[in-house]
């Protein structure tokens, strides 16, 4: 593969052994501020595609590759629709001066939304090129064929480069009147496991991550955060870093950092710096977290399902069942702590970061520095996987502030403790469920209450740490993501009520972490479905099939296919009759993502050690239907990642804190899954080439926690209702069983 993409290869020169950005190589692309205006509107073909005289295609996209492979998948879509070879496409991502604002890279929407926009642009471009070729060749369009960017007919041919080379298409796109696109039967690139374009460089050590990027004359910085999250800075002993060459203190209000000419000096300076901070103990007691959540003031109630009269039906049910579930606070835990570079020059700010949302970041930085967004340019550089809004944007704000205060370009590299301590967190979730069964075990009522933080309407700007510490302008959105999603259920009961109590506050600055809300809500709902199936004495797969909408054929097929894949042993849970030290079990979960898109069903197989309470997930079976598959291997990679990461979150992960701050500041105190603990994963990808492509970056994560809980119930007959399922919790549940 020789796909090229900005900026790692095009914009860097190897000079004197160090990486230096070349401002002279591509002055247009790298001049401060906005270069010679390139269209950016979502409704212009030229915003997405440029074809040069040699026929090389540059694809501009506001969606960025966060390590998920979308760079490759989006290039596949463009190459397919344009009829050019895959390796002729260069991808430019997430540069606010160059790429259309296609929305942040979140919500499993890069293919579903971004890919469709690109397909439309490419189809419109191809149609225009065909039209021009017909005129040029004096032939009818119908008599022409296109292969590898060359249009041929009546014995003559003309290339895309000759037709458009460097000129604009000037074609408008109207989402209400989509351009006809290629018949999926003719696909040659889409639907194929094209190898990812970034992998060879990542494997050979030649890939440039954000962390590798350098700007001439820049300073290195480390931030020094308050030891208690809400503490104020009382004094700084600048003399304490006197012995560290080139290191100096930069301070504004409660924002404190050390800058130096090399990174190690910044690290040492930050470690040695002595500062005095006030005391602050504003966090709840960790041991009483869920009491705190339940007692938090409700800002508003959102009813996400209301069918029939659940209160009345609950009153009349022959059997009533209720349960409470909770799900711990999680950190994103990116392997590479956040890193960013910023430079102010001539009143304009350039920010390089691994932000999943450079277009939003631009507006947010503009607000913080009271600038016009037109004077801010944010450029994406791939970082470590972020799985949502982690610390990348905060590092970008840190770098910008330091660049302003020092009048130099500044690179900020967070420490491991900065990342674990100060990235925004996935908020704690508390869920109450109630249901009634009739005498024959049929469900007559279902009620759920979700205690989750509110979402500022339309506001997804998680406040920057630097803005909070300095009191600089900030939007102060509470933005946990659309965590009400999947609070409603895909099952048809006669009486259903789901209420989200949107809480005024949550202990830590919230943000979205992979599958936000959909994971927690699906976990509670699907565990409780299992509780009802067990109460009714019905096989858990059979029980779900009874209540799925019979018209939702794809959902039913997905569940049936996972049962077939897993050779599902049809019987009610628990399994019973196991007397050995290690008990085994299997559990199922089904999810229709946000109740409108990707279907996924899994079966988890577990072993539980009675003596220690340890759970081992041995195998996961997955059936996955996200419609048209763009790249099967890329999809499998995403599904594997979803499953393994969520096994980790479910079995092990829990933010630890005292009244002042986060105390799980490294991998020893916030352990994640290790190689010996990783399950085998068996997949059945359901491809629907003629259906729209849907997202796959998150749905397969939603189904993991409940599948494990249900499998543990099958194995040992006790129900786990508190994530993470630590050995201590398993033992406690067994004691109470």
């Amino acid at each position: 593969m020789n796909i090229r993409f900005q900026p790692s290869r095009r914009d860097m020169l190897k000079g004197g052994g160090a990486l230096i950005v070349s401002f002279t190589l591509t002055p247009q692309a790298f001049a401060q501020g906005v270069p010679a205006a390139k269209p950016l509107a979502l409704t212009e073909v030229d915003s997405y595609l440029v074809i040069d005289a040699k026929g090389a295609v540059t694809l501009y996209t506001g969606k960025v590759d966060l390590g998920t492979g979308v760079r490759t998948a989006l290039a596949q879509i463009a190459a397919e629709e344009l009829d050019v070879p895959f390796d002729r496409i260069e991808v430019v991502e997430g540069d606010t001066a160059l790429t259309p604002e296609q929305g942040s890279t979140w919500g499993s929407l890069s293919i579903q939304v971004g890919g469709i926009q690109i397909r439309q642009a490419a189809a419109a471009a191809r149609a225009a090129l065909l039209e021009q070729a017909a005129a040029r060749l004096g032939a009818k369009k119908e008599d022409l064929t296109i292969t590898d960017g060359i249009v041929s007919g009546s014995g003559r041919q003309v290339s895309y480069g000759e037709l458009i080379g460097g000129k604009r298409f000037s074609i408008k796109l109207d989402p209400k009147q989509p351009v006809p696109t290629k018949d999926p039967k003719a696909f040659k690139i889409v639907g194929k496991s094209v190898q990812r374009v970034d992998i060879p460089d990542k494997v050979m050590g030649t890939f440039s991550y954000m962390h590798d990027f350098r700007v001439p004359g820049m300073l290195h910085a480390r931030v020094v955060r308050p030891p208690a999250m809400g503490a104020t800075l009382q004094s700084v002993d600048e003399g304490s870093i006197r012995d560290v060459p080139t290191a100096r203190v930069v301070r504004q209000a409660n924002f404190l950092a050390v800058v130096a000419e090399n990174e190690w000096a910044a690290v040492k300076g930050a470690q040695m710096l002595k500062a005095t901070w006030s005391k602050w103990e504003g966090l709840p007691e960790q041991g009483k977290l869920y009491e705190h959540v339940r007692a938090t003031k409700v800002a508003k109630d959102e009813v996400t399902a209301n069918v029939g009269d659940s209160a009345q039906a609950l009153g009349q049910g022959a059997r009533k069942i209720s349960a409470t579930y909770d799900f711990a606070i999680h950190t994103h835990g990116s392997m590479g702590p956040s890193c960013a570079i910023a430079e102010f020059r001539d009143g304009k700010l350039t920010s390089w970061s691994a932000s999943q949302a450079t277009h939003n970041l631009r507006k947010q930085l503009a607000k913080m520095f009271s600038m016009s967004p037109d004077d801010v340019r944010c450029i994406y550089f791939e970082g470590a996987g972020c799985y949502g809004r982690n610390g990348h944007e905060d590092a970008a704000a840190d770098a910008a502030l330091l660049a302003q205060l020092t009048s130099k370009p500044v690179r900020v590299q967070w420490s491991r403790a900065d990342e674990h301590g100060w990235d925004p967190k996935g908020p704690p979730t508390l869920i109450d469920l109630r249901a009634a069964l009739d005498a024959s075990g049929g469900v007559t009522a279902w009620e759920s209450e979700f205690f989750i933080p509110q979402q500022t309407p339309g506001g997804f700007n998680v406040p920057f740490v630097a803005a909070t510490l300095t009191g600089m302008p900030s939007d102060d959105h509470i933005a946990p993501g659309n965590i009400f999603q999947n609070s409603n259920i895909p099952y048809k009961f006669p009486n259903i009520k789901a209420v989200c109590h949107r809480l005024e506050t949550t202990p830590f600055r919230p943000s979205w972490i992979r599958t936000p809300g959909r994971m927690q809500n699906t976990y509670a709902n699907e565990c409780f479905m299992d509780e009802l199936a067990a109460a009714a004495g019905v096989d858990p797969v059979e029980f779900r099939l009874r209540y799925l909408d019979p018209a939702d054929m794809r959902g039913i097929e997905c569940l049936n296919r996972v049962a077939a894949l897993a050779k599902w042993d049809k019987r009610p849970s628990p399994k019973g009759g196991q007397s050995g030290e290690v008990a085994t079990g299997r559990g199922v979960t089904y999810c229709k993502y946000e109740l409108v898109r990707t279907y996924v069903a899994v079966v988890a197989e577990v072993e539980v050690k009675r003596e220690t309470g340890e759970i081992r997930c041995t195998r996961f079976y997955v059936a996955h239907d996200c419609g048209q598959i763009i790249n099967p291997d890329g999809l499998m990679n995403q599904i594997e990642g979803n499953i393994i990461q969520t096994v980790s979150r479910t079995l092990k992960e829990e933010l630890k804190f005292d009244r002042s701050t986060v105390t799980s500041l490294d991998w020893a105190s916030y352990p994640i899954l290790t190689f010996p603990e990783v399950p085998e994963i068996v997949m059945d990808l359901i491809d629907r080439p003629t259906a729209p492509p849907w997202g796959a970056g998150e749905p397969a994560a939603a189904v993991v926690p409940s599948a494990i809980s249900n499998a543990v119930f099958d194995a040992i007959g006790v129900r786990l209702r508190s994530v993470p399922f630590t050995p201590a919790k398993v033992k406690a549940a067994m004691g109470g069983a």
Partner: protein
Amino acid sequence: MATRALHVNGRQVSITIDDPDMPLLYALRDNLALKGPRFGCGLAQCGACTVHVDGKSVRSCVTPLSSIKADQRVVTLEGLGTPQKPHPVQQAFIQEQAVQCGYCINGMIMESAAFLAGHKKPSEAEIRQALANNLCRCGTHARIVRAVKRAAEMS
């Protein structure tokens, strides 16, 4: 300020440093502009910074320069193989597409290459054990194990 000699990726190099105890990782990344070894934790907990010193895997984030002799052979990911002639482990990682974000992958490859040099036909359990202290957040483990198995079969 002092100069320090090091042997990196087959070349004798000289770097200028302030602190003789600076971790090797910073010399490789900042003085020599290498991109293979990565900063992940600085605590010897994740493996992202792994390099080889005389063929053994070493966590460069906690290896003071003063502990490395000038003639000890330091090899980073970019010195393990070349695009024309990748190391079998690198080749296997490409074939298995064993990367998501790839931030951990330097450590996975360097640790596996050192492990395979001493273990010819490892079982899957042995491979998992060999990588037990290397962390991956993306959940690429299944592919990484397949890649190491493939590399073991190739060599």
